[in-house]
Amino acid sequence: MAIHFAGQRTRRAQDLFSLTSIDLFYIDLEVVTSGPCPDTRPDSALPPRKTRPANHMKHIRNFSIIAHIDHGKSTLADRLIQRCNMVTAREFKDQLLDNMDIERERGITIKSQTICMPYRAKDGKMYTLNLVDTPGHVDFSYEVSRALKSCEGALLLIDAAQGVEAQTLANLYLAMENNLEIIPVINKIDLPSADPEMVALQIEEDLGLDMDTVQMCSAKTGQGVDEILEAIVKLLPPPQEGDAAAPLQALIFDASYDPFRGTIISVRIINGTIKPGDTIIFMSNNTSYKVEEVGLFRLRKEPQKSLQAGEVGYILAGVKTVSDTRPGDTITHKDKPCPRALPGFQEVQQVVFSSIYPISTDDYENLATAMEKLKLNDAALTFQKDASSALGFGFRCGFLGLLHLEVIQERLEREFDIPIILTVPSVCYHFFLTDGTMLEVDNPAHFPDPATIASTEEPYIKATIHMPDRYMGAVMTLCMERRGENTRYHYPMPGRIELTCELPLAEVIYDFYDRLKSVTQGYGSFDYELLDYRPSDLVKLDILVNGEKVDALSQLVHRANSRARGLHACEKLKEEIPRQMFKIAIQGAIGGTIVSRTTIAALRKDVTAKCYGGDISRKRKLLEKQKAGKKRMKIVGNVEIPQKAFLAVLKSEQS
């Protein structure tokens, strides 16, 4: 076997005897990707690659794995990757494609991830499989919809013990909208509680899918995985149209920023061929760049001589202006452009709004660049400049849900190392004023003078909740508490209920998901769509800390709930704000009236009991941790408020 080195040499097996152990370490990685390390070489130095056969497209399969959260998508991806020999035993780890720290910590997929795998099918032919693992959580369904745009088929995974759930349906509909071929896969058949026959019935009756194509597997044990690979090759179509000789038409479906190489652009080539040296333009803004490298997503990026119609890969073109690259845009050649841009992606609708401020005001500029770069990798994030009297300059941002918001917060801190504060999240309200105008307000700071408000509207959603029927009572109560209307339900199969309910969106972002999980002991699942705006009656709840109003803690709430919310906010802040050297009064106020109040007693004791020679290192670390914690606090007036406190106001006791 020929082995490629970072040093651009090709060595043969017998040369290995002269290698040091460090070299050997690299070889191990290289054999797998059979390409040079990603951070090296001019492209011309690459060893020549095999040219593709003429009927290349026939042997490509582009597909996504879609499912409800936790039904095992990433685990199945692991098995497929292993069957295609993409990874050594040493490199392997569970949920291999979940490569962000935050994904690994939370055990969920947040970003869709593509990997290109060679597969020799039973017919003896080599196929190229482009697999996209997608997230299951409702907040990230836009990731699924974008992933589907690069595919012809989808594996719809269903947990054999859980059956069809809210996002199973939601993601199935997305796949159908994109005219994808669907292979239903019943996963986790190894579980003692698995009931594959029942789930198969659901697939036929509930989902209306063809029973004959259903696959059964355990992504955990690997049972049934070989059959899935064969089904992918047999049942999913190759890229339909597309002509490698036509003018280039490449859809940008994702991007990320690399400080050395500029934007890494993920594309699906619809028509034409792209290769290093080509001059390309982004059709939305006509900026042009020279292609430096194209390649495939193996475990790492693997450079290629070209990418052509039907393929999924990446382009490096030294794009350092972050805003030039936009997911959904079309790339074409400057000298031989395609007649029109591809349709791109539907605009996503942000539902939750919150402002992001750097804890240290010096970080504002850094935060601005970080937001730009993050947006490249997360097209669903929107932001614009904002200012607060308590927190200085920041950004008003739109998110797809509370989890999306938390992810953005963590990514800003981890990937860009900027400690930030997020203000209490809000939805977007309509205020009809006495002068006949309408004001859209997603920021409590812009709450109009109550005297000028003629009427108010708030957004409603239609929630679809799936659960075992024993939780029906608890879920109904929860919906009623949250001002739910028009509750309906039916039994898709014995023992299970699908309930729909119209709810104010504001009630849903206020810890609805956590509460649903807790009242159904984790068995309830939830999906929603925006419905319309309905009349409401809103007031602004302000929070005063030691008599000083903290605008970042203000929220707009329904008048009927205002007192309870005021109390809740005070209690939460009492939990989150650590004792300080003086007593702290926390008050909730509506208009000028105080509706709730708590006090945090002064700190009286904080001292390390014993400290001698031997344990100095440990004791020092404790103090260092305290010191680091202080960096995550915002001083408002003279009170140190921890980062967590701002979001805690919206969380329930349990979470």
Binding site: G613, D615, I616, R620, E624
Partner: protein
């Protein structure tokens, strides 16, 4: 004055106390004796090294664990060995830790003869219900008896360790403990607020929220009551340490002034002029390493002057009278301003730190919340 200290660690106890995260495991006397034989080898080995043995040590401290679990003769032999192999000052303070259930006349006389002049008794509480609740293996009566026995054998410098803030402990319980102390009148007292160490049995209980502990206000009240009750009789000279005039523990003062010390035995830490190293902490792996003459050092770091300065600050400010900042600057050849910029002046003007000539100390009202100041200096 204090000088370099020599510390020996004995990592064995009769059984483990519920709050304890010290490096010790439950064992029988013969294991401890076997360990002492190997420790003796390590003493010989280090004494032969010029950069260790070449120093004149002011103090010797045998800690644990429960050193008194060993045979008296073996312990005496270790003290004698240290005195012959290392250079110990004439008036060297020689201390050992002991638990009440292991203190007997033979132990006391044998060790007195070997040169022991200070005994530290781990009593923790004089309340039998509380003692049982923290899994101590002795009673209050045994503790009192052990104290009188030590006195009777002529030990004129005795320390008692007590803990406050124990599960279910009330203010009245603690005040009774303090009264008992005043009746016994030891020369030295170490009074620790209970710390829940995550790796101790209490740490696990706390994680399960199964521990009922006094709240912060009660703890603060207990600390205040302690100071009020003891101040006519004892001088508080460190956050948790009290003594009769002139009876400070010299070995520990050396730690708080961040002086040099050599630690031998499992898990013992040494710090010699900024070179810090730690021995294998697992007692059995330590023994086997000594036995096979392989190195026992598991961690070593060379501290920068700035790091040493910062450590000296957070240690030294634990002393009620503080320490001589000028001397520290001279010793480390770096100025406080180079390390901290304007921070010390700020803390001074906020009334958190007090300066008096060359001395620096924590303001008395900040002692109960010392970490709030120390965490800016770390």
């Amino acid at each position: 004055m204090t000088g370099p200290g020599l510390y020996l660690h004995i990592p064995f106890c009769r059984s483990k106390c519920s709050y304890c995260a010290f490096n010790s495991v439950a064992a029988q006397r013969d294991t401890v004796d076997a360990y002492l034989d190997l420790l003796a080898r390590q003493i010989e080995e280090y004494a032969a090294l010029e950069w260790c043995g070449g120093r004149r040590f002011s103090t010797l401290f045998i800690g644990g664990g429960t050193p008194s679990l060993a045979s008296p003769a073996k312990l005496a032999a270790i003290i004698t060995l240290c005195r012959s192999r290392f250079s110990l000052a004439d008036q060297a303070e020689i201390s050992m830790e002991a638990n009440p259930d292991t203190i007997g006349p033979e132990l006391l006389t044998t060790l007195r003869e070997a040169g022991l002049n200070r005994l530290s008794i781990g009593i923790q509480s004089f309340n039998n219900a509380i003692l049982a609740g923290i899994n101590r293996v002795h009673t209050a009566e045994q503790a009192i008896k052990a104290f009188h026995l030590a006195r009777g054998c002529g030990l004129a410098n005795i320390n008692i360790d007590l803990i406050y803030g124990l599960p279910h402990q009330t203010m009245a319980d603690w005040q009774e403990d303090l009264q008992q102390i005043l009746a016994l009148a030891p020369e030295h007292l170490a009074l620790y607020e209970l710390t829940i160490e995550p790796e101790s049995p209490f740490g696990r209980l706390q994680a399960e929220k199964a521990l009922v502990l006094p709240d912060e206000d009660l703890l603060a009240d207990m600390e205040e009551a302690t100071n009020t009750l003891l101040s006519p009789h004892y001088q508080r000279y460190e956050i948790a340490n009290f003594c009769r005039p002139g009876r400070q523990c010299r070995h520990n003062i050396n730690y708080w002034l961040n002086g040099s010390y050599l630690g031998l035995g499992a898990g013992a830490v040494s710090c010699l002029d900024g070179l810090r190293f730690t021995h294998e902490s697992d007692p059995y792996r330590f023994m086997s390493a000594v036995e096979h003459k392989t190195t026992t050092i598991r961690q070593a770091e060379c501290l920068s002057r700035t790091a040493r300065f910062r450590e000296s600050m957070i240690m030294g400010l634990r002393l009620i009278d503080g320490f001589n900042l000028r001397k520290l600057e001279k010793r480390l050849d770096i100025s406080a301003t180079e390390v901290y910029g304007p921070l010390l002046a700020e803390l001074n003007s906020q009334g958190r730190l007090l300066r008096q000539g060359e001395m620096i100390r924590l303001a008395p009202d900040w002692l109960p919340v010392a970490n709030q100041v120390l965490n800016t200096l770390v």
